[in-house]
């Protein structure tokens, strides 16, 4: 469903020096699969997500969703996407933001209010629905971001740090929600710094380091090993 093939992205510094953000990165996420992406800050995760959403072109290699170029696929089908920083105009209220995104997601007028109400309840936003985005805490903004990602019931979910800023109650609730989001026709890419969260929710985790795929870890819930792998790659420098 999601395929990144030998993707590289080189930026230029103001002096023209090449900066390799991503180098020869390949990854596939099949339908029914939840794949995690972990890596330290600056590993290239955000660049990769931008390429996958068609917001950035790779310098070389290719990114496809269901065999189509990202923008082509997204313009036809949409994806459920939660960005690390939830950027929603601060003057919008929670309910109006969801109603707007619901229109853009293609929901019919008759469905919008019920779907928005359902997601407001699912993400515990009832007491905030009339608040403006500027009045929300980090955790509440994150839940609003997650709610808008789920509006279109997409076959592709790309969640970038979905539990970032959530309080312990909502972190636990989020884990339940993630298991509900898994379904046979859906591909989920979950980007997170939280190795415990990835180990609980993903089938495989790609560890990214210095722009490269350093290691692909198959998750075995009986033998947690992601932290060890992550440490070996990013701290000890073992390939």
């Amino acid at each position: 469903m999601i395929e990144l093939r030998d993707v590289s992205r080189v930026y230029r510094s103001p002096l023209g020096r090449p900066i390799r953000a991503v180098e020869g990165f390949s990854l596939t996420v099949a339908r029914g699969e939840v794949v995690g992406l972990a890596g330290p800050n600056g590993a290239g995760k955000s660049t990769l997500i931008n390429i996958l959403l068609g917001y950035l072109n790779p310098t070389s290699g290719s990114a496809t969703i269901a065999g189509r170029a990202p923008r082509e696929y997204i313009e036809a089908n949409g994806v459920g996407y939660l960005s690390e920083l939830v950027a929603i105009p601060p003057s919008w209220t929670v309910r109006s933001a969801l109603a707007r995104y619901a229109v853009l997601a293609g929901l019919a007028n008759s469905e919008i209010q019920s779907r928005v109400t359902q997601l407001i309840a699912l993400l515990g936003l009832e007491e905030h629905e009339r608040k403006r985005v500027r009045q929300l805490s980090k955790g509440t903004s994150q839940r609003l971001g997650l709610a808008q990602a789920l509006l279109g019931d997409s076959d592709v979910l790309i969640l970038d740090e979905p539990a970032h800023g959530l309080d312990p109650t909502w972190t636990l609730r989020f884990r339940d929600l993630m298991s509900e989001l898994r379904r046979p026709d859906r591909a989920v890419l979950l980007v997170s710094h939280d190795l415990d969260e990835l180990e609980r929710t993903a089938d495989r985790v790609a560890i990214m380091h210095r722009g490269r795929l350093a290691r692909m870890v198959e998750i075995d819930s009986a033998k947690p090993s992601l932290e060890r792998h992550f440490r070996e790659v990013t701290v000890e420098g073992v390939a």
Partner: protein, 242 residues
């Protein structure tokens, strides 16, 4: 499932009213005051007076109002979403970015004409009746030209209003330094830069009912539409993230 972009125009219209429409009305009121004071100062008498004085005041007013209105209406129309990263959630939905911004531009055009109409009605009540259609025609031409260029610049740079000011200034300065019939460079400058000079003296004849010649009108519209189309191409092919 396709996004319902046409339905979203209502939200774009409400954004326009809040973020641009009210400021535009405020600026319109201030300019109206300035225009009235200018008319009083030059005549040395009260507001009562002949139709010619009203038309002269309206001309001054429109020549100040039109560029300011267009600047308010298109400033940040694309660059604002890039700068604040709003594009990230917007364009994860099944919609096309060029269509989204084309629609935003049309909503801005419509909103600006409605705001202009309100300001002109106020002008008519305070100063004296003027030909509304002539005035709207002038603002429409200004929007198509200056707004089209502003749309393109907003697709290219985060500093679109500064860039628009630079283009506007260059269009006047270079044309005065290098007249079109004076040199080959002057001819090139004349073709490349927005033909603002064709609108410079257009307010008076449009208010007077004479209109402007077809060639000038066509060149102004063609230039603005070409800049708008180029802006859409930039939106299509320039990656949103940097």
């Amino acid at each position: 499932m396709s996004g319902r972009l046409a339905r979203y125009a209502l939200f774009q219209a409400s954004d326009y009213v809040r973020e641009r429409g009210f400021p535009l009305l405020l600026v319109g009121a201030l300019l109206l005051l300035m225009a009235i004071q200018g008319a009083i100062g030059s005549a040395g008498v009260d507001l009562g007076g002949g139709e010619l004085r009203t038309l002269a005041t309206a001309t001054v007013f429109l020549e100040l109002f039109a560029p300011t209105a267009v600047l308010i209406a298109v400033n940040g129309i694309i660059s604002g979403d890039r700068k604040h990263h709003y594009y990230r959630l917007l364009f994860s939905k099944p919609i096309s970015a060029p269509r989204y911004y084309a629609q935003a531009f049309l909503v801005s055009l419509f909103g600006t004409l409605v705001a202009t109409l309100l300001v002109l009605v106020a002008f008519g009540a305070i100063v004296g009746a003027i030909p509304i259609w002539g005035a709207l025609h002038f603002v429409l031409l200004y929007f198509l030209l200056f707004g089209g260029v502003g749309f393109l610049l907003s697709a290219i740079t985060e500093y679109d209003w500064i860039a628009l000011g630079v283009v506007w200034s260059l269009a006047w300065l270079l044309r005065s330094w290098f007249p079109a019939d004076g040199s080959a460079f002057g001819s090139v400058v004349d073709v490349l830069l927005p033909p603002l000079q064709l609108l410079a003296g257009a307010a008076a004849p449009l208010l007077g009912g004479a209109g402007i010649d077809t060639h000038s009108r066509l060149w102004v519209v063609a230039y603005g539409v070409a800049a708008f189309a180029a802006g859409l191409l930039v939106v299509r092919y320039r990656p949103m993230a940097s």
